[in-house]
């Protein structure tokens, strides 16, 4: 399995590299091989099974978006690869996003989602319901994301704000996108395994680890 971390120098503000590590280790624990590839700004987009887009500051987010457009990243995804996009990464995949002021910047247009600047920055713990399972995380962003009709959110908000206080992120057959930033796969081992299972097409044996205790502890801390 090839796990590509896209532009860690631009989109890696909140321990985002952790998601790649978690996917790699959980795949290895099942006796498979997994390689992490860091994709830098000057690189052409290499082949991979999954691309990870993390969170970033405003200027770097714009540069990441324009470079990914130049490198035809959308074409790579449309050819069949998967994406996990977090925070700024989520915004980049949409039609357009605003970072500084109210100017809208062009996104990759992979999903019909438009992000505008909200009145407040949303900082705090969050949780969402994804088909009956709870994903816990932390959000820190100033965006409000509106999904086009027919776009499926990743889940409904139980705590926090997400896209708009009602739902969070979006999903397609190949894309998972969320405002739960940073190493969300470390906090949610079930979601990491769901991703591994989806991209490999295999059912995975359960894997007990300390991460399960962490997940339970976070659920408890959020009163869920």
């Amino acid at each position: 399995m090839r796990i590509a971390v896209v532009y860690p120098e631009l989109l890696g503000t909140y321990g985002d590299g952790g998601n790649a590590l978690v996917l790699q280790q959980r795949w290895k624990y099942r006796r498979h091989r997994a390689t992490i590839i860091e994709v830098h700004l000057s690189d052409v987009i290499p082949a991979a099974d999954i691309y990870l887009l993390g969170g970033g500051e405003d200027g770097p987010q714009r540069l990441a978006a324009s470079t990914l457009r130049k490198r035809k990243f959308a074409k790579t995804i449309n050819a069949g690869a998967h994406v996990l996009a977090v925070c700024a990464g989520l915004q980049i995949l949409g039609e357009s996003f605003a970072v500084e002021g109210d100017t809208q910047f062009e996104g990759l247009g992979l999903v019909d989602a438009v992000t505008t600047r909200g009145a407040d920055r949303r900082v705090g713990n969050m949780a969402l319901d994804i088909s009956g399972k709870v994903l816990v995380g932390f959000e820190n962003h100033g965006g409000v994301t509106a999904l086009g009709s027919g776009v499926e959110p990743l889940g409904t908000i139980l705590k926090g704000f997400g896209n708009d206080g009602v739902v969070d992120g979006f999903q397609t057959e190949q894309i998972w996108a969320t405002y739960a930033h940073g190493p969300l796969l470390a906090l949610n081992p079930w979601f990491a395994d769901h991703i591994l299972s989806t991209i490999s097409g295999q059912d995975l044996d359960p894997l007990e680890s300390i991460a399960d205790d962490l997940y339970q502890r976070r659920l408890g801390a959020l009163g869920l």
Binding site: Y14, G15, L21, Q25, P60, G124, F138, G182, A186
Partner: protein, 402 residues
């Protein structure tokens, strides 16, 4: 001495409130009085300015570097040695002292306004990196704010880290900078050029971007094994551990050189007498174990500390909380290269011990979770106990009990 009746009133109120606060046993009594004093006279800092002022700022190393300058000068100086580094704490430190000199650490976000009030003789700028992102959301914004404030100062001399591109960017328009070429490992916040967002290329002894943003060439201080300031070798034998403390010392001694009040050579020799800074580095007793307490609160400070601990065979405890003072989001644990610890056993403490243990497990390290301090590991060996901010404070208090 205050020059206006209002400032004098502010100063007296500050001292009175802090005295009462201390008598009531409500902490060390620095911030609350400062708040009252600044309420009475918002210009209080300006009026309390002694004749010589040094400010120290940056993400990591402020407290130690400030302590080193104080130790090296060996003069009676006003200093906020409790780490209260916002205007309230600074006002309290100045009001409580009659010294001609002040050496003050300043929170990164407050540096512009404190600089404007105090018009310091020297500012030391150590480094800038990600820290408590839930509050100060962007490190580049801090660099931008510094740049605006420091481009305007005229009489202030600046001592700055030439290997931190964000610091160099903040001083793009400043004059009178003494650049320190000191080892700086953390680069993850400056891989993209702050001027053009291009990629900064790091070579062995320099760094540059194609847009022309490069490491400054007019270097005052080098620390390449030996310490050289303005072409002269200075002896540097520290009792404090780690390369990061040699970096702090190099910058402290450059500030002392620039200030010109005491001999840098004497100052350098005095630093050897510094064994502990605000409870850090010194040997303590913690739950019956002989322990060295260390503070590491963000990826950059954890990185330099882990580097220093790689060959350390002592039992290792790490504690992580996520209180407001720590930053409520411990995502940064995945920016810390815990892989450096190999397969060693690490005892995990703090309210976020499971976050830490999960991170360590994914790094291949062997975590042992301590749910209750009644169950701390027993043994006769020495312990190195690394805590983030509030864990460190708890451990320090615990070690000072009885």
């Amino acid at each position: 001495m205050p020059t206006s009746p209002r400032a004098e009133l502010g100063r007296r109120a500050l001292l009175a409130v802090n005295l009462i606060s201390r008598l009531l046993g409500r902490g060390s009594g620095t911030v609350i009085g400062g708040r009252v004093g600044l309420r009475i006279d918002p210009e209080l800092l300006r009026h309390l300015r002694p004749s010589r002022v040094v400010l120290v700022s940056g993400t990591n190393g402020k407290t130690t570097t400030t302590a080193m300058i104080v130790e090296g000068m060996s003069l009676h100086v006003a200093s906020n040695n409790t780490g209260a580094n916002m205007p309230e704490g600074i006002a309290a430190a100045l009001a409580g002292s009659r010294s001609d000199h002040a050496v003050l650490e300043v929170d990164e976000a407050w540096l512009p306004s404190v600089t404007e009030s105090l018009e310091p003789d020297v500012i030391v700028l150590l480094n800038l990196s990600r820290d408590q992102l839930d509050r100060a959301n962007e490190v580049r914004q801090i660099a931008e704010n510094w740049r605006r404030a420091l481009g305007a100062v005229s009489k202030t001399k600046i001592v700055a880290n030439a290997n931190d591109p964000l610091v160099v960017y903040a001083l793009d328009e400043a004059r009178g900078v003494s650049w320190c070429d000191v080892p700086t490992q953390w680069r993850r916040d400056a891989t993209a050029c702050p001027r053009c967002n291009g990629t900064i290329v790091y070579a062995k002894e320099s760094w540059s971007c194609t847009c022309g943003f490069v490491k400054p060439s007019n270097i005052t201080t080098t620390l390449n094994g030996d310490l050289r300031i303005l072409g002269r070798n200075l002896p540097l034998r520290l009792s404090l551990p780690g390369e990061f403390n040699r970096v702090n010392a190099a910058m402290a001694l450059t500030a002392i050189t620039v200030l010109g009040d005491v001999s840098p050579k004497l100052a350098s020799m005095r630093l050897r007498g510094l064994y502990s800074v605000a409870g850090r580095f010194g040997e303590k007793e913690l739950w019956g174990r002989k322990a060295t307490l260390l503070l590491a609160k963000n990826p950059a400070s954890f990185s330099v500390l882990l580097e220093a601990l790689v060959d350390d065979k002592r039992e290792l405890w790490i504690g992580v909380n996520a209180e407001i003072a720590d930053g409520r989001d411990p995502s940064w644990l995945y920016d810390v290269p815990f892989e450096l610890l190999g397969e060693r056993v690490v005892y995990c403490f703090g309210t976020r011990r499971l976050d830490l243990a999960t991170r360590l497990a994914y790094a291949g390290v062997r975590p042992q979770v301590i749910d209750d301090v009644k169950n701390v590991p027993t043994g006769s060996g020495e312990v190195v106990a690394v805590g983030n901010y509030t864990v460190f404070q708890e451990w320090l208090q615990e070690s000072e009990r009885r």
